[in-house]
C-alpha cells in the first residue's frame, strides 16, 4: 500500500513561473509534466498533472463527484419548476459525471440518482437501466468530443432521446402500463387516439417526453463544461476531451 505522503505528492500545485523547474525536477518519471502553453499561459496556478485515476486523491475527487452529480440531477427540478417547462433533466448529473469522470462514475451516478429518487417516488427505480444506457451514450459522446459546441451536442442529445425512449418504453409498458407520469400517460392516450397500437402509443409518449428533454440536457451539460475554468476542468480525466480541447 502506498503511503499517505506518496499520495499527497500525486497532485501538486505550483505556479506558472516554477512549472519548467518542476518539470525538470520531477519530469524524469512516467508522470512528467506535459507543458501545454495554452494552459500554462492562462492560469496563475496549475496542477502538474491531470487526473489519471492512479492516486488516492484523484479517486476521492471522482468519488465525491458521484453524490454531487446525483444531487444536481435531483435539485434541478426546482429550477425546472421555476420556469414551468415540461422537462425532467433527471439525467443531467449522469451525463455531466460521465463527461467529467468517465463511464464508471457516470453509471454510479445514474444508479445512485435512481436509488435516491426512488425514496421520493418509487416509480423511478425500474428505470435505472435507462440511466446506465444514458451514461454509456454520454461516454461515447465525450470520447467523440461532441460536447465541443451546441451544434454537435444538441443533435447528440436528440439521438439520446430516441435511445432513452426505446429503452424506457418496454419498462414503462410492462411495469406501469405506460402510466409513469401524468404527462406521459396523456401523450400515450393521444397516441392511442391517433390509432397507434398499445406499445407504439407508449413509445410515442416516451419519445415526446425524452426527445426534447435529452437535447436540453446535453446543451446544458455543454454549457457547464465550457463554463468551467480550464484549471477546474483539467482536474477531471475526461472534461477536456469531451469539449474537444485535448
Amino acid at each position: 500500500m502506498r503511503s499517505h505522503a506518496s499520495r499527497s505528492r500525486s497532485w501538486r500545485e505550483t505556479s506558472c513561473r516554477c512549472a519548467a523547474r518542476s518539470a525538470r525536477t520531477i519530469g524524469a518519471g512516467s508522470r512528467s509534466v506535459v507543458t501545454r502553453p495554452d494552459w500554462f499561459g492562462a492560469c496563475g496556478y496549475i496542477y502538474l498533472w491531470r487526473d489519471s485515476g492512479e492516486s488516492g486523491l484523484v479517486s476521492i475527487r471522482l468519488l465525491v463527484l458521484i453524490p454531487v452529480a446525483a444531487a444536481i440531477s435531483l435539485a434541478l427540478s426546482a429550477a425546472v419548476d421555476a420556469v414551468a417547462l415540461p422537462l425532467f433533466l433527471d439525467t443531467t448529473g449522469t451525463i455531466l459525471a460521465t463527461a467529467l469522470g468517465g463511464p464508471v462514475v457516470g453509471i454510479s451516478t445514474g444508479v445512485v440518482t435512481s436509488a435516491v429518487n426512488s425514496l421520493r417516488n418509487p416509480t423511478f427505480w425500474p428505470f435505472v437501466a435507462v440511466q446506465v444506457i444514458v451514461a454509456l451514450y454520454a461516454w461515447m459522446a465525450a470520447r467523440a468530443g461532441l460536447f465541443r459546441s451546441f451544434k454537435t451536442a444538441v443533435p447528440a442529445g436528440f439521438g439520446l432521446g430516441v435511445i432513452a425512449a426505446l429503452t424506457s418504453t418496454p419498462i414503462s409498458y410492462l411495469v406501469f402500463g405506460c402510466t409513469t407520469t401524468g404527462g406521459i400517460a396523456l401523450t400515450t392516450a393521444l397516441g392511442k387516439a391517433l390509432g397507434l397500437p398499445p406499445l407504439g402509443a407508449c413509445f410515442f409518449g416516451s419519445f415526446l417526453a425524452d426527445f426534447g428533454d435529452k437535447a436540453v440536457t446535453f446543451a446544458l451539460v455543454t454549457s457547464v463544461l465550457h463554463g468551467l475554468s480550464r484549471r477546474t476542468a483539467a482536474r477531471f480525466p475526461w472534461a477536456l476531451r469531451a469539449i474537444g480541447a485535448a
Binding site: 476521492i60 463527484l65 435531483l74 435539485a75 426546482a78 421555476a82 402510466t179 400517460a185 482536474r235
Partner: protein, 216 residues
C-alpha cells in the same frame, strides 16, 4: 417493526412488489397490496401511500380496460406502499451503519449518505439562486426560448457552484482517511439476529420459488 435490521426491512420492501408481479393477478397483487398497505398503516404513512398510488389508477383507467387496470394498479400500489413504508421505517444513517457493519466499503456508504444530505442543500440553493436572478430582472415567463434562457440562468450557477465544492469535499474526506477501500468501525451497528437472516433468505427463496412456479 422499525427495530428490524435495515437489510430485513429492505428485503421485505423488495419481496412484496416482486411477489405482486410474479404471482397471478389479481389475487397475488391484492394479497401483497393488503400486506404493504398494512405495513404503511403501522408506520403512519398509509395516507401518503394511498395518495401516491391514486394517480396511477386514474391514468390506468384512462389507458386500459378494467381487468388490466386492477392487475397493474394493485402491483403499483404494492410497490408504492412498500417504498413509502421502508422510507418511513428506515432512517438513512441506520442503513449506512448497517452497510459499514456488513463490510461494505465506507466509500459506498458515503456516496449514498452524501447524496441524501446534498439534495436538500442544493434544492435550497436553487431557490436562493432563483430569488437572486429574479431580483436581477430574470423573467421565467414568455416563449419556450425565453424560458430556456431563464433555465440556463438558474441551472448554471447551481451546477458550477456544486462542482467547485468537489475539491473541498475531497480534501476533507482525505484528511479523515475516507479513501476508497477503507474500512470503518460502526459506532452503533444494528443488531442482526439469526432469525432475521433466515427471514431474508426465506423471502429470497419465496420469490425464486414463485418465479419457478409461474415459469413451469
Amino acid at each position: 417493526m422499525t427495530r428490524l435490521h435495515p437489510f430485513t426491512l429492505l428485503a421485505i420492501a423488495a419481496a412484496l412488489p416482486a411477489l405482486a408481479w410474479i404471482l397471478p393477478a389479481p389475487a397475488g397483487g391484492l394479497a401483497m397490496a393488503v400486506v404493504a398497505l398494512a405495513l404503511a398503516l403501522t408506520t403512519g404513512v398509509f395516507r401518503t401511500a394511498v395518495f401516491t398510488a391514486a394517480p396511477f389508477w386514474l391514468f390506468l383507467l384512462l389507458l386500459h380496460d378494467i381487468p388490466t387496470t386492477v392487475a397493474i394498479g394493485l402491483r403499483i400500489t404494492t410497490m408504492v406502499s412498500s417504498f413509502v413504508w421502508v422510507v418511513a421505517a428506515l432512517p438513512p444513517p441506520r442503513l449506512v451503519e448497517a452497510m459499514v457493519a456488513a463490510g461494505w466499503s465506507a466509500s459506498a456508504a458515503y456516496v449514498f449518505a452524501a447524496t441524501l444530505s446534498a439534495v436538500p442543500v442544493l434544492r435550497a440553493r436553487a431557490g436562493r439562486i432563483a430569488d437572486a436572478q429574479r431580483c436581477r430582472g430574470l423573467s421565467p415567463r414568455g416563449g419556450p426560448v425565453q424560458r430556456l434562457r431563464a433555465l440556463r440562468a438558474l441551472a448554471m450557477p447551481l451546477i458550477l457552484s456544486a462542482l467547485h465544492e468537489v475539491d473541498e469535499r475531497g480534501l476533507a474526506l482525505e484528511t479523515r482517511r475516507l479513501v476508497p477501500g477503507a474500512r470503518r468501525t460502526p459506532l452503533a451497528p444494528p443488531s442482526d439476529h439469526a432469525v432475521e437472516r433466515v427471514t431474508r433468505w426465506a423471502l429470497a427463496a419465496a420469490c425464486a420459488a414463485a418465479l419457478a412456479w409461474r415459469l413451469r
